[in-house]
Amino acid sequence: MFLINCPYCGERDQQEFKAGGEAHIERPKQPTELSDDEWAEYLFMRKNIKGIQFERWNHVHGCRKWFNMVRDTSNDEIKAIYKMGEKPPA
C-alpha cells in the first residue's frame, strides 16, 4: 500500500487515490485530421513499462486533483510527484 505525497494535501494512504494510466499522452487538438492509425495510437496504445513509468494519479477521496507520478513499476518505488502541466523531471 503506497504512501503518496499528494502535491496539494501531503502524504496520504493509497486507498484515497485512483490510478489513471500513462501520463503525458495529450489529446490531439485536431482529431479529425488524424488517420485511423494515428487516432488508434492515441486511443489504445500504452507502454506499460517494467521500470520507470510516468503515470497519472487522482486524489479521488481527497482534493480530487489529478497529478503526475514517476514510479518504478518493478519495485513500486515512487521517484517523483509533480502537478499537472509541470515539466516531468529528467
Binding site: 488508434a40 497519472r56 487522482n58 480530487r64 486533483k65 518505488e77 499537472m84
Partner: protein, 1001 residues
C-alpha cells in the same frame, strides 16, 4: 491413567488456578498460563493429529506459531468453532474444547492411515499423474478426493463475535518482544520516537526470558533475570505502546503493516460476549525494527515425524517456561550446542536425559563439558538411522556417520526413549523482511539467508538479522539503533556481557540411513507429508525452479507455509542439483505470516455495514406505503408499490396504466446532478456532449448523450440552462460519480484553460417526477400562480417557483412520453413536496410508481437506459440515435472514433424493437437471437436487452441489439429457449405515440 509430567512450578503458570478442558472428548486439567500444547504434554498426550496425505500419527513439535503438526479444531460444533488453529498458540481457559483434524473416526484409529502403507503408490505429483485420464472422469475422481482431503471444518452458523479495524501511525514499530525487540523499543521510545512494540505471545521476553544458561551473563546476571528487570522498566517509559497477542501478518511496501490483535480468544465463553474478539491493526510506521527472532530447524532423517519427536528448543521452553517435561526418557539429536542447553535444563530439574546424539566430531564449549560432567552419554559423529513407535516414539537406532556425512558405518545401536529433541541450528525468521520487498543473501558459512538490501526504512536486529549470541546481539543492535535512529547514546553502551563460545555447527541437510532413500521416510514438510524422496523425484523429473519444485511436491504449501522445513528443501535441491544455495534463491514468503480469520479481515463491514447504501429524502414515505425496493448502485429505490397482495406484474401493469391514463409520480431524487458554472460552461458542454449547446436559451432544457473517447455511449441525461453561465446537468443514477470524475479529469488535464466549476449536488435536491395527462392539473393546484400554458412553460423548459415558502426548480421534461414535470426542492423538503403532490393528486387517482414501471413506460417509447440497452460497445449510431450527433461541431469527446473503420461497419449490433408473434409471450432479457433454427452451430445475432408486457399496448414489447438490425425492419427472427422457440419480428423501437403527441396532451 494419564501421567502428570508437571515438574516444577513456573512463574508463568498459576498452579492455584486449575483449568479443565476437553481434547477429543476427554477431560484434562491444566493451569492458567498453559497453552493447549503445554497442558496436553503435561498430561503425557503427544498424539494430536494425523498428517495430510499419509494420515501418519503426529505430535506436538514446537512451542510457537511455526507448529506444523498440532493443528486442531477449537470448540467443534459451536458457532465459535475455528479450524486449523495451532495448539501451541491456544491459551487454555475453563470450558475449552478442541479436537484433532484430518482423521476419521478418531485420531487413535484413523481409516486414512492405510495411506501410510500405500505410500509407495503416492509419490509427488500422484494426483496430477493419476487422475489425468480420461479427462471426462475428473468430476468423478474429484468427489472422492474432495471427500478425503481437507483440514478441519468451517463453522456452519453466523459468527457471534465482533471484529474491528484500527489505523495506527508511529515513528518506530518494533516487531517481536524478545531481548532485541525490548531493547530496541526502549531506546527508541526514550529518544522521543513514538514507538509501538508488538509480540504474538502473551508474555514479553521471547526465548531469553527463560534463558538460564549459567555461562551467559549480562551485567553479572543470567539473561532471564536481567531481561525481567528491563521489562519492568518499560512500564515507566512514555511514547511506548505495547501490544501482546498481536501477530504481524503482512509487511507491505512503504512500511505499511497489518497485524492481528487477539483480544478474547484466551477468555472463557462468558467473558467473550459483547467484546471485540480480534482487531486488525493497519500500521503505518516511519521506521520498522524487525526483531522476529529465529526458528529452530529440525534435522531430516528417517521417520523423523513420530509423536514424541520435537524441537530441542521447544522441549526447553516446555520445561523452563511451563514447567512440563515432554518425556520421561529423553534423547537429543543435534548438530550444534543448543541441544546441550535443553539437556541441561531437563537435567537440572531432575528429568532423565538418556543420551545426546551429535553429528559433529566434538565440541569443547563449557556447556558441553557441563553435560558430560552430569554423566549424560554423548555419541559424537553419530546419526539416527531410524525411529520406532507408531503413536508414540519408543526408541531410536543410531549409527556412526562417515567422514563426508553421506553414509553410515559400523553397527547399529538401539536406544529406548519416549521423547527426542532435535536441534538442527537456527533459521532467521526473515518472512516479514522479504514480504516488504527487501532482498536476502545466503551466508555460506552460517548456512542461512540474511537480510541484505532493504527497500524501506527498516532494520533487522537480533537473531532475525543473523546475530545469535547475546554479545553480538547487543553490540550490533546498539550500532544499528544509533545509525538508524540517528541517536548518539543508548542504554546499551555500558552493558557487560559474558558468553560461552559455541563451536561451529555441522550442517547436513539430509542425514543418511542404512537403508536407501527409497525405503525411508525423511519428512521435509511435516504438514503436507513431503519427503526428501519426493523432492529428489521432482528434480529427476526435470523440475529445476525452486518455485516449481515447491508446487509439484507441495513442500511449504501447508498452513504453516513450511516454516520448519523450507531450508532443508532448498538444501536438498542444491546438493542434488550441484548448485549453491545462494544461486537457488528461496520461494516467496507470502502474507499472512500466520493465518487470519475472515472476521479480522472484514472487521465491522458485515451485515448492514457490508456496503454503503443511500436512501432518498422521500424514503420514509415509500416504506410507509409498503413499497418493494431494489438496489440501484448504492441507492435503495422504490421498485413498485403492491396493493392488496398484488404480484409485481400486477402492480406494474396497474401503475403503468395509471401513469398514462391520469397521473403517476416517481421519486427521481437518485439521478445524478452536477452544477456547472463558469464563463466557458457552454463551450464545455459542447465538448462533452455529442450535440450542440451554444444556442440553448436560458430557461431551456436539452437531452444530451455523452460518449467515451472510443465513441461508445457512456451516459445520458437532461441538462438545463439556469443562467448565462450556469447549468445543471443530470446523469444516470449509477453513473453520477464516474461522470463527475470524467468531467473533472478533462477539465484539469486536457482543458485547464476553460473557466468551468463542477459541483456534485445530487444529495442536495429531492426530485418528484409528476407525469400523465393530469400532471398539469395537479401542479396547478400546488402552485396556482404559475402559468403552465404551453406558451409560457413549454416542453423542455424550466421555471423557478415557490410552493409556500419552499423554493423549487421545475423542469418540464419527460422520460415516459407523457406530459410531465420534474420538481426539485431542497432535500429536506422532499417528503413534504411528495406528500403535497399525493394530496393534490387524489382526485386524479395519482399513482406512485417505482423503477419497474418507469422502465416499462420508457421502453414503450423506445428510450434507452445506459447500462441496460448499452454495454460499452454501442455507439449512438448503433442505437439509431444519429439525430443527436452533431455533424457541425468540430470536436467532442468520442467524435473521431465514430469515423473509425470499425465503428462505421454496417453489420454492428444495432438497437431495434422486437415484437413476439404471440403478443402474450414476454421474452426473457438476455435471451439470444438467431435467424436460423435448424442449423448448428448457428450464429448468434444479438440479444434481448429490455422486455415487458405493455398494458397500454396490450402486447409484449422488447428492445434488442441485433447484428445489422437497422436494415432488418419487419424481418422474422427466432429466440430459441430451453423448451420452445419464440418467433419474433424486428420492429421500430418506438412502440407508443410515435409522433410524441402526448407530450402536450
Amino acid at each position: 491413567m494419564t501421567k502428570n509430567l508437571r515438574v516444577k512450578s513456573s512463574e508463568y503458570i498459576d498452579e492455584t488456578n486449575r483449568i479443565s478442558f476437553k481434547f477429543n472428548g476427554k477431560t484434562y486439567h491444566g493451569f492458567k498460563g498453559d497453552t493447549l500444547a503445554s497442558a496436553l504434554l503435561a498430561n503425557d498426550v503427544h498424539l494430536v493429529g494425523r498428517s495430510f496425505k499419509y494420515h501418519r500419527p503426529r505430535g506436538i513439535m514446537t512451542s510457537g506459531s511455526e507448529e506444523p503438526n498440532a493443528i486442531v479444531q477449537v470448540n467443534p460444533g459451536t458457532n465459535r468453532t475455528e479450524p486449523n488453529v495451532r495448539a501451541t498458540e491456544v491459551e487454555i481457559y475453563e470450558g475449552l474444547e478442541a479436537s484433532s483434524q484430518n482423521c476419521w473416526p478418531s485420531v487413535e484409529f484413523d481409516i486414512g492411515g492405510i495411506n501410510n502403507f500405500l505410500s509407495p503408490f503416492f509419490p509427488a505429483g500422484f494426483y496430477y499423474k493419476t487422475f489425468m485420464w480420461p479427462a471426462s472422469f475428473w468430476e468423478k475422481y474429484e468427489f472422492f478426493i474432495r471427500h478425503s482431503a481437507g483440514l478441519g471444518k468451517s463453522p456452519t452458523s453466523n459468527d457471534p463475535d465482533i471484529y474491528d479495524h484500527r489505523n495506527i501511525h508511529c515513528d518506530v514499530l518494533v516487531v517481536g518482544a524478545g531481548i532485541s525487540g525490548i531493547l530496541a523499543a526502549k531506546n527508541a521510545a526514550k529518544n522521543n520516537f513514538k514507538t509501538l512494540l508488538v509480540d504474538e505471545k502473551n508474555e514479553l521476553g521471547g526465548s531469553t526470558i527463560f534463558e538460564n544458561n549459567k555461562f551467559n551473563k549480562i551485567d553479572n546476571k543470567t539473561p532471564s533475570e536481567w531481561l525481567k528487570k528491563e521489562i519492568e522498566e518499560l512500564k515507566n517509559i512514555k511514547n511506548l505502546e505495547i501490544k501482546t497477542r498481536t501477530s504481524v501478518a503482512a509487511y507491505h511496501q512503504y512500511n505499511y503493516l497489518l497485524a492481528r490483535e487477539n483480544l478474547t480468544d484466551h477468555l472463557e465463553a462468558k467473558d467473550k460476549t459483547n467484546k471485540i474478539r480480534q482487531r486488525l491493526l493497519k500500521i503505518r510506521a516511519k521506521k520498522v525494527i524487525l526483531a522476529t527472532g529465529a526458528l529452530e530447524r529440525p534435522l531430516i532423517f528417517n521417520n523423523n515425524d513420530r509423536p514424541g519427536i520435537m524441537l530441542s528448543s521447544a522441549i526447553k521452553k516446555y520445561s523452563e517456561f511451563y514447567g512440563v517435561a515432554c518425556g520421561s526418557k529423553n534423547v537429543f539429536f543435534t548438530n550444534n550446542d543448543s541441544a546441550y542447553e535443553s539437556a541441561l535444563s531437563l537435567y537440572n530439574k531432575g528429568i532423565n536425559v538418556e543420551a545426546i546424539i551429535d553429528i559433529r566430531e566434538q565440541s569443547e564449549s563449557k556447556i558441553v563439558k557441563k553435560v558430560k560432567e552430569a554423566g549424560i552419554k554423548v555419541y559424537w559423529s553419530h546419526t539416527i538411522v531410524d525411529t520406532a513407535g507408531y503413536k508414540r516414539l519408543n526408541g531410536i537406532s543410531i549409527m556412526k556417520l562417515s567422514n563426508d556425512g553421506t553414509s553410515v558405518t559400523g553397527s547399529k545401536i538401539s536406544i529406548s526413549c519416549d521423547c527426542l529433541g532435535v536441534a538442527g541450528g537456527w533459521t532467521p525468521a526473515v518472512h516479514l523482511y522479504t514480504q516488504s520487498g527487501s532482498k536476502l543473501k545466503f551466508d555460506e558459512e552460517k548456512q542461512i539467508f540474511l537480510p541484505n538490501q532493504n527497500t524501506s526504512q527498516q532494520i533487522s536486529v537480533g537473531s532475525c538479522g543473523g546475530d545469535f549470541k547475546i554479545d553480538e546481539i547487543i553490540k550490533n543492535l546498539n550500532q544499528k539503533l544509533k545509525d538508524n535512529l540517528n541517536i548518539k547514546e543508548t542504554d546499551l553502551d555500558n552493558i557487560k556481557v559474558e558468553i560461552d563460545q559455541e563451536n561451529s555447527k555441522r550442517n547436513i541437510w539430509l542425514l543418511p540411513s542404512d537403508k536407501p532413500l527409497g525405503k525411508t521416510k525423511p519428512f521435509v514438510d511435516y504438514q503436507n507429508d513431503a519427503t526428501a524422496k519426493d523432492i529428489k523425484l521432482a528434480l529427476r523429473e526435470g523440475f529445476r525452479s525452486i518455485e516449481h519444485v515447491k508446487r509439484y511436491t507441495t513442500t511449504g504449501m501447508g498452513t504453516d507455509q513450511g516454516k520448519l522445513g523450507n531450508m532443508h528443501a532448498l538444501g536438498i535441491i542444491a546438493d542434488t542439483a550441484g548448485v549453491k544455495m545462494g544461486e537457488l534463491g528461496t520461494t516467496t514468503f507470502r502474507p499472512p505470516y500466520t493465518p487470519l480469520t475472515f472476521g479480522t479481515i472484514v472487521g465491522r463491514n458485515v451485515g448492514k455495514f457490508f456496503d454503503i447504501f443511500r436512501r432518498t429524502p422521500i424514503n420514509d414515505w415509500h416504506v410507509e406505503n409498503k413499497a418493494e425496493f431494489e438496489n440501484v448502485g448504492q441507492w435503495k429505490r422504490a421498485w413498485y408499490y403492491p396493493i392488496n397482495g398484488e404480484t409485481m406484474h400486477q402492480a406494474v401493469q396497474r401503475e403503468s396504466k395509471a401513469a398514462r391514463e391520469s397521473a403517476g409520480i416517481l421519486d427521481a431524487s437518485t439521478l445524478g446532478k452536477i452544477d456547472i458554472q463558469g464563463s466557458d460552461a457552454s463551450e464545455f458542454l459542447n465538448r462533452v456532449y455529442t450535440n450542440a449547446w451554444s444556442k440553448l436559451a436560458v430557461g431551456k432544457c436539452r437531452y444530451g448523450l455523452m460518449l467515451n473517447e472510443d465513441g461508445m455511449v457512456y451516459d445520458d441525461g437532461v441538462t438545463t440552462r439556469l443562467g448565462e453561465n450556469h447549468y445543471i446537468m443530470t446523469t444516470t443514477t449509477g453513473g453520477a460519480a464516474n461522470v463527475l470524475g470524467k468531467l473533472e479529469d478533462y477539465l484539469q488535464t486536457e482543458w485547464p484553460e476553460l473557466d468551468v466549476y463542477l459541483t456534485s449536488v445530487t444529495d442536495h435536491y429531492a426530485t418528484a417526477s409528476l407525469c400523465g395527462p393530469n400532471s398539469k392539473n395537479i401542479l396547478k393546484k400546488i402552485i396556482p400562480d404559475l402559468d403552465l400554458s404551453d406558451e409560457n412553460f413549454p416542453h423542455m423548459s424550466f421555471k423557478e417557483a415557490h410552493i409556500g415558502n419552499i423554493q423549487c426548480r421545475i423542469m418540464r421534461i419527460s422520460f415516459t412520453g407523457e406530459h410531465s414535470y420534474e420538481i426539485n426542492v431542497q432535500a429536506s423538503y422532499g417528503k413534504d413536496l411528495w406528500e403535497k403532490c399525493i394530496e393534490a393528486g387524489k382526485e386524479f387517482n395519482i399513482t406512485p410508481y417505482g423503477t419497474e414501471t418507469m422502465h416499462l413506460l420508457r421502453a414503450e417509447k423506445g428510450f434507452i437506459i445506459v447500462g441496460q440497452d448499452t454495454d460499452g460497445t454501442m455507439t449512438p449510431i448503433d442505437l439509431q440515435m444519429d439525430w443527436i450527433v452533431s455533424k457541425k461541431k468540430y470536436d467532442f469527446i468520442g467524435k473521431r472514433s465514430l469515423y473509425r473503420s470499425d465503428t462505421m461497419r454496417e453489420d454492428r449490433k444495432q438497437l431495434v424493437g422486437l415484437l413476439t408473434d404471440d403478443p402474450n409471450i414476454v421474452l426473457e432479457e438476455g435471451a439470444q437471437i438467431v435467424s436460423e433454427l435448424n442449423q448448428s452451430p448457428v450464429e448468434m445475432l444479438g440479444h434481448v436487452t429490455s422486455s415487458y408486457f405493455s398494458p397500454n399496448l396490450k402486447k409484449s414489447i422488447a428492445l434488442a441489439v441485433v447484428r445489422g438490425g437497422k436494415d432488418m425492419m419487419g424481418k422474422k427472427l427466432f429466440v430459441p429457449m430451453e423448451n420452445k422457440n419464440i418467433n419474433v419480428t424486428v420492429a421500430n423501437p418506438v412502440f407508443y405515440d410515435e409522433k410524441n403527441e402526448r407530450l402536450n396532451a
